[in-house]
Subunit: 150 residues, 2 copies
């Protein structure tokens, strides 16, 4: 396989990113790959925020993975900065290739580089395979994640 590069997402990557978000048991119900307008608006908003890092894994010009890393300063834990990982997806053709590990390792390394003391993420309670994956990478399932739709 070609070399893999993890790089910031560009506007032309949006269709590939949305296709991956939708190619997922939960994402299939809540994404709209046939209408990219809301994604383009969100992309513009992300691009202007220096604490936001929407990344893609690029293999020979093909987008095969994505994640979003957000850096969040804060007062708690002696003024710790934390990072949050959201929207991790690996293209179906690449599953089992170690790409998920590469993406999370990138996020952990980048968080350390930016001075974060903590990396966190939430995973839907039904994604038990993902939970084992994060535990293997040194994450602890120490919290309960609450969500409220508006």
């Amino acid at each position: 396989m070609s070399d893999l590069e993890i790089r910031p997402a560009k506007p032309e990557d949006i269709p590939a990113i949305v296709a991956m978000l939708a190619d997922d048991p939960l994402g299939a119900q809540r994404e709209s790959p046939d209408d990219l307008a809301p994604y383009r608006t969100a992309f513009d908003r992300l691009s202007g925020d220096p604490n936001q890092h929407l990344m893609v894994a690029d293999r020979g010009g093909e987008v095969v993975g994505t994640l979003q890393l957000t850096v969040i300063p804060g007062l708690s834990r002696r003024g710790s900065t934390r990072s949050i990982i959201e929207g991790v997806r690996v293209h179906s053709a690449e599953r089992g290739s170690g790409l998920g590990t590469r993406l999370i390792e990138w996020a952990v390394d980048e968080s350390a580089r930016q001075g974060c003391q903590l990396v966190q993420l939430t995973s839907d309670a039904t994604r038990t395979d993902a939970h084992r994956f994060y535990e293997r990478l040194g994450f602890e399932a120490s919290h309960v994640g609450f969500k409220k739709p508006l």
Copy 2:
């Protein structure tokens, strides 16, 4: 009791905020109220970020509660913007007064006002009283929260 105001934190509120962060079974082990320097640095970083809202509940000039609301744009869920609540604390003298509810309701209302489609938070698995509190306020414990210290 005097009227309650929920307002952005000011630099002079830092000692009161840190005292509340430390007056907590988990916070007692990880905060340093005798050394405010790291908190002042973090405060400056938060103040410069328009997506960060470090708030205090002020009753007659006394800081009696705090929370941090972060607004996070994103591509997933049709370009949804979400918000994250962190660092919720209520002064010991105010516990049971409904102030926690007021703070969370403020965060939910402000998130809606800013166009968020989702509000989320994580709570340590040991804080079972807090879990019931969030469920009463319409949050669903749908996710597992993973953390990795760096």
